[in-house]
């Protein structure tokens, strides 16, 4: 087809099938045994494991992957940088710092928990609310630092600075930890995991993921136009400043919400758009949907992989994605270097 839509539709359908299969596997496979083993147990135990442990975990995996994938693709398009990902502009580290603050200041956590309860949220959401506030604060700061007419280099540099600062503040909190156990709790949380999450977490993340994802998706065509430079984009009826704000706000909401609940799951947003480009091309808008779906597949499959060893401590999802992602990142750098020479 002239527009290449056939390939895009085929890929989308293929990814939807893979996502459905991954989702089913994620619900079926687990340390409590596969579905067949569970059916021998008393009915209510099996029901609890499936509906209250594995289903929320799988749903959260889908949402986290969708968000990281779409945000990664959009940020690479916006910053015109193949190495961009939500972590680069401070969304993840801001959320992590916000969450850690709640761990360390129980009074602050109580206030956030109270506020959440007043808004109808379930108990125990203080960490998530803190993370969300951290992400929004980090990206608001990014926007302020980058100025009223943000250019790409300032955005990246400001993101690096915010990342470093949020990281330093998190380290400070760990340094001042009242006990080694408290520090350990935070360290484990920050590694990123879908383990032991409930439907309350899903409901917390869902609206912000949908809103943030929609904001990002609505910027797709403008990102295409910005490929030809800001002046051309403007002449085509897009406002690059508003587009930048939309992508950053969407990332703050969506990525902030997922990191607040799962901890930092790195590299998914970085890797997935690169896996999709050889199939759908480099158009930023055409990458958004496939990257979101592939992000969800990758996250679910990685989360299944960490559950496969039946003994010993479960590998954290964030650790596993970093183990796959970091070598890929290195490969990208080498490939970019080869192309530029």
């Amino acid at each position: 087809m002239r527009s290449g839509n056939g390939k895009l539709i085929g890929l989308t359908l293929g990814l939807l099938v893979l996502l459905a299969v991954s989702f089913v596997l994620s619900v079926v496979i687990g340390r409590g045994g596969v579905l067949a083993d569970l059916s021998n147990d008393a009915d209510d135990i099996a029901r609890i494991i499936l509906l209250e442990i594995r289903l929320p975990r799988a749903l959260l995996g889908v949402i986290v992957g969708l968000v990281l994938g779409i945000a990664g693709a959009a940020l690479q398009g916006l910053l015109r940088n193949p190495l961009a990902e939500p972590g680069l502009i401070g969304a993840s580290s801001g959320a992590a710092f916000g969450a850690v603050t709640v761990f360390y200041f129980p009074a602050f956590g109580a206030v956030l928990g109270g506020a959440g309860a007043a808004l109808g949220m379930a108990q125990g959401q203080a960490v998530a609310i803190g993370g969300m506030l951290g992400a929004v604060a980090a990206l608001s700061l990014l926007y302020l630092l980058a100025g009223r007419k943000p250019n790409i280099m300032t955005l990246i540099l400001a993101g690096v600075a915010i990342n470093a600062f949020a990281g330093a503040m998190t380290s400070l909190a760990l340094n001042m930890a009242p006990s080694p156990f408290a520090a350990l709790e935070v360290v484990f949380w920050m590694m990123g995991s879908l383990e032991n999450r409930s439907m309350e977490h899903v409901w917390f993340v869902l609206p912000m993921a949908v809103l943030g994802g929609a904001l990002i998706a609505s910027a797709g065509r403008a990102l295409d136009a910005m490929t030809l430079g800001q002046d051309t984009a403007r002449s085509l009826g897009f406002n690059p400043v508003r587009v930048t704000l939309r992508v950053i706000a969407g990332t703050a909401l969506a990525v902030g919400a997922v990191v607040s609940v799962t901890g930092v799951i790195g590299f998914v947003g970085l890797v997935v758009p690169h896996l999709m480009r050889p199939i759908v091309g480099h158009h930023p808008s055409r990458l958004l949907l496939p990257s979101a779906l592939a992000g969800a597949c990758l996250t679910l499959l990685a989360d299944i992989a960490v559950r496969i060893p039946m003994h010993g401590p479960e590998l954290k999802l964030g650790v596993f994605t970093a183990l796959i992602g970091a070598p890929f990142f290195l490969y990208l750098i080498l490939k970019t270097r080869r192309l530029s020479s």
Partner: protein, 258 residues
């Protein structure tokens, strides 16, 4: 006939007036060359007409106030080929040309058959059909210029603004691009083109607009705009003149020193 009217148009950049008191009336169906030395305000004026920069005064297309139009409606009426011709991702020529269609599409609307036909037609005109699926980064300078021009033509706007479309091209490609712009103008559009080559300006432009230090110096046919007095005053040069096929051409000859 469509008429682009500028009344007292001024543009300030960083608090400094870069273009001022610009009054022009340009009719469709012709190529108008916007000429003047570096820093004369040509690109700034063009950006103001394209809506890329904000301006004072009034810019009208027939009776429509261009500055008051919505972004999308303005984009459908005025197409702009920027001086900076870049693609930050290795898009194909067809994908680049398709980027001329968003002004005709709603936010989540996919390009229709009509949009694809429009792009095919433009690629035919610019002789880029054979290269349509090649990445822009693999092409020569001349091919890239035609690809970016395809994008600007694909808007199918009644006004086309082109900022130095032939800079850095060899003579054969310069002639080719100018002929393309001329044929687009003959199809009923107004083509305003910034250029430095005075001989090609006399050869292809129906009218010339000469700017200097942000102000209009002369507007009209090449023979009156490129007078010895204007050229001395604005460029500080002396030119040689000649004729070929009954067309007059002008070649910069020597720099005048005072």
């Amino acid at each position: 006939m469509t008429v682009l009217t500028l009344e007292n148009v001024g543009v300030n950049l960083g608090g400094k007036p870069v273009v001022q008191n610009m009054n022009l009336r340009l009719g469709s169906g012709q190529v108008v060359g916007l000429i003047g030395p570096n820093g004369a305000g040509k690109s700034t004026l063009m950006k103001a007409i394209a809506g890329v920069l904000t301006s004072e005064g009034s810019i009208r297309l027939d009776e429509k106030n261009v500055t008051a139009l919505g972004n999308k409606e303005r984009a459908r009426l005025i197409s702009y080929l920027a001086q900076e011709k870049v693609a930050h991702w290795p898009l194909s020529v067809r994908e680049i040309a398709m980027l001329g269609r968003p002004p005709h599409l709603a936010t989540f609307e996919s390009p229709s058959e009509a949009d694809m036909d429009a792009v095919d037609q433009v690629l035919e005109q610019t002789d880029m059909r054979a290269l349509a699926d090649r990445s822009i980064l693999e092409l020569s300078g001349g091919e890239q210029a035609r690809a970016f021009l395809s994008r600007a033509l694909a808007v199918q706007a009644p006004v086309l603004l082109a900022d130095e479309p032939i800079a850095a091209l060899d003579p054969a490609h310069q002639l080719e691009i100018m002929a393309l712009l001329q044929s687009y103008a003959r199809s009923g559009a107004l083509v305003l083109v910034i250029m430095h080559d005075l001989s090609l300006a006399t050869r292809y432009c129906d009218e010339l607009v000469l700017l200097d230090k942000g102000e209009l110096v002369a507007h009209g046919e090449a023979s009156t705009v490129l007078s010895d007095r204007h050229l001395q005053q604005v460029y500080g040069i002396e030119v040689a003149r000649g004729t070929k096929d009954d067309d007059v051409f002008v070649v910069p000859w020597r720099r005048l020193t005072d």
